[in-house]
Amino acid sequence: MKHGSRLALFHYWVAFGVFLPSVLLGAWQMLMRSPLPAPLDDSAAYYASVTLHGSAMAYVVTTFFTMGFGYAVATTSLGRPLRGMTAAWIGFAICLIGTLMTVTAILSGRASVLYTFYPPLLATGWYYGGAFLLIAGSMVWVVLMILNMRAWRRDNPGHPVPLSMFAITATAMLWAWAASGVLVELAAILLPRAFGWSDLIDAALGRTLFSVTLHAIVYFWLMPAYVAFYTLVPAAAGGRLYSDTMGRLTFIMFLVFSLPVGMHHLLMDPEHGSGFKFLQSALTFLVALPTLLTVFSICASLEIAGRVRGGRGLFGWIKALPWQEPMVLAVGLSLVMLGLGGFGGLINMSYAMNSMIHNTSWVTAHFHLIFGGAVVIMYFAIAYEMWPRITGKALASKRMARLQLWLWFWGMLITTLPWHITGLMGQPRRVATFDYTDPLIAPMSPLVIISVLGGLILLISAILLIVILVRSHFSQSAAGEAMRYALAVNPPVIVPRTLNSFGLWNALVLVLMILAYGYPIGQFYFLKSHSVPAIGAVSSLDGRGEP
């Protein structure tokens, strides 16, 4: 195994190693809040578990997976060893230490603040310190991606940067911008309070800073899936990418549009004016552009593949696609979930409609369907695609891999569709127990039970994933294929400088961020302060609690 491959593999294994227990926690949480009897039926344990599940899935799994994917793409797409290997391992170590601190703090019961850790909820400093290290450590990866792209461009003047590398660098920049909000919140607000250097906590400022991160982070999670859509899927389907330029534009638009929009998470926030809420809500709608562009490009690329394989007629090409390939199957299932979740998202981001579903289980359902469904299923497909390239061993069983993908798809639908409905019925999120004998809540009961079944299916699928990956890792049959990135129908020969670099786009982001967030954040420093006493996190697992 090459050194670069080992780096990627370590990242992947941390990601998937954390993934399985987190799915288990999720399944238990669903059982716990359902009318069915659950082991360890305790609210304090529930909130600790939600914090662990959320922190692990949102920060650990995604960050490690994307970093690993980035390193793999950098080495394979540029066709040369990674520059800064030592720094990469140091970054990995920092992130790992951060993860261990975070997990330990949550397990100790002194960090039940949910993964959004909104103040004035306050956790132990170890939790915030761990989160800070994890996120700050990933900045090493950000810098390495940018440096590697720059170095390659310098060494290959006039040549377009391969789309996959261009996309992963866009992802890195997006993450740097996105993480700035939460890093500032941690360093300036939460850590000083957790260490007792200040008594009060500005809750509204904390929420606002977190909102800078909160939407862009979703696109950071999403980006590996999109990189796979553009660069791996057409190759796996045996065709070509419809347009290289559309791909570049898509990733550029994600970089620009996913950042100055986070306030649509604060549409019900009392501290912000309606004007900024509307402004960011309107900017949010622009994110639909790259999404629709992607759906179009990917369908077009798949159609090319289908017709190359002999598909005829209006829909004949769909049947002709190699559905036995996990990557092709995954993209089909992913697009279905992306479509359903996307329509739900339009409601979340609409200034007026949001009030119907704000803080209900609709929101939980939405991000599970989009992230846990559409995105994570592509993570699986990427893993199945990359495992043989990295380990040099053939995938244990494509049939099992397909079964695993189908189980995840149905599990996620069965879990989240009932949540959407209970959300519309008014079921709040982040609540541990419900009185299902109450006539107002009783009608939710069967829906909640159905979603528990979905959770069980998801758990089975997650176990199957690990089994497949472990079996492949230790299998005897060798496979020596190199990574295959899709060629475009018209491979890029000359690309305008603006589509081969990020200077213009980062300048646009900077200006938009100042316009969209300058006043909403600045007001807390100059006009109003909303410092309130912090509330110690609810306690230990036995539920006794401590101040």
């Binding site: 003047p157 309606s274 646009l508």
Partner: protein, 284 residues
């Protein structure tokens, strides 16, 4: 364009120009809608001043509510307060003048202030302050009854005092009960008759004070009518009206609170006690 990257070329400047202009356009349009149009017109009609609307869009509370929204009127049970001034104004009423005004009342309240209908109260001998307050309540729509509202509206303060004094001094109506003692065992929770207990002792468990503390016999509060000899059906109907909130001109809401606690049977029993029992001296 030359293959050499970095060499300034036309496509680059146009990418840059187009991107900046497109985003500026989107931003300006959203800004205009968010800060001017929506803030000002979001309820289909201008509810805020332009400046207040912009302030709200920015997130600065200007301390004003929506200007054009109708505010519900403050609910006051009555306009009357029992001040020295009010009592003096009533006492200054001219009985002789009142007799003329009272000609408007005889159709319902009887030639001599004694009503022959069980749902219309007898006025002869009723405290002048009580009549004065009810007339003012009718006038200000605090107590609602079609005919009485119409008549009271035609009277002014002065005329109300006159007619109130006239009826108060009219003999042969409600009996004078001042100085009357309590019935045997009346002031005790061990009183056997539940109705008498309710009237003279009340029911502390339900927060009901004794009726007699305000309505007599033997005690009187300003504005509270003496009930001895009043029509049973009338008293009962008023209790029901208070309980259901149809009548709400009791100054401290005391009658609404008490009546809500009474069962229909208790209302009837209390009304019957005042109206029918112990009627010595009264003329029906």
């Amino acid at each position: 364009m030359a293959g050499e990257e970095g060499s300034s070329s036309k496509p680059d400047t146009s990418w840059s120009r187009v991107s900046w202009s497109l985003l500026a356009g989107v931003f300006i349009v959203s800004f205009f809608i968010g800060f001017f149009v929506l803030g000002r017109f979001q309820q289909n009609s201008p509810t805020l001043g332009t400046w207040a609307a912009i302030c709200r869009a920015i997130g600065i509370s200007t301390g004003v509510g929506p200007a054009a929204e109708p505010q519900p009127p403050l609910q006051m049970p009555t306009r009357i307060a029992w001040t020295q001034g009010t009592l003096a104004r009533i006492a200054s009423g001219n009985e002789h003048q009142g007799a003329f005004i009272a000609l408007n009342c005889v159709v319902c309240h009887g030639e001599h202030g004694v009503s022959s209908s069980s749902l219309i109260p007898t006025l002869a001998g009723m405290d002048a302050a009580v009549i004065f307050k009810q007339l003012d309540d009718y006038r200000s729509q605090k107590r609602l009854w079609g005919v009485m509202s119409a008549i009271a509206t035609s009277l002014n303060d002065r005329a109300s005092a006159d007619v109130a004094v006239y009826f108060a001094h009219l003999p042969g109506g409600l009996p004078q009960t001042a100085g009357e003692g309590l019935p045997v065992g009346g002031h005790s929770l061990r009183q056997g008759d539940p109705t008498i207990r309710l009237i003279y002792v009340g029911d502390p468990e339900r927060g009901i004070p004794p009726c007699a503390a305000c309505h007599g016999p033997s005690a009187q509060k300003p504005g509270a009518p003496a009930l001895r000899g009043q029509h049973t059906a009338y008293i009962e109907r008023q209790l029901t009206a208070f309980a259901q909130g149809a009548r709400k001109n009791d100054i401290n809401e005391q009658m609404r609170v008490i009546a809500r606690e009474l069962t229909p049977n208790e209302m009837h029993a209390v009304a019957a006690y005042y109206g029918d029992a112990n009627l010595e001296g009264s003329k029906r």
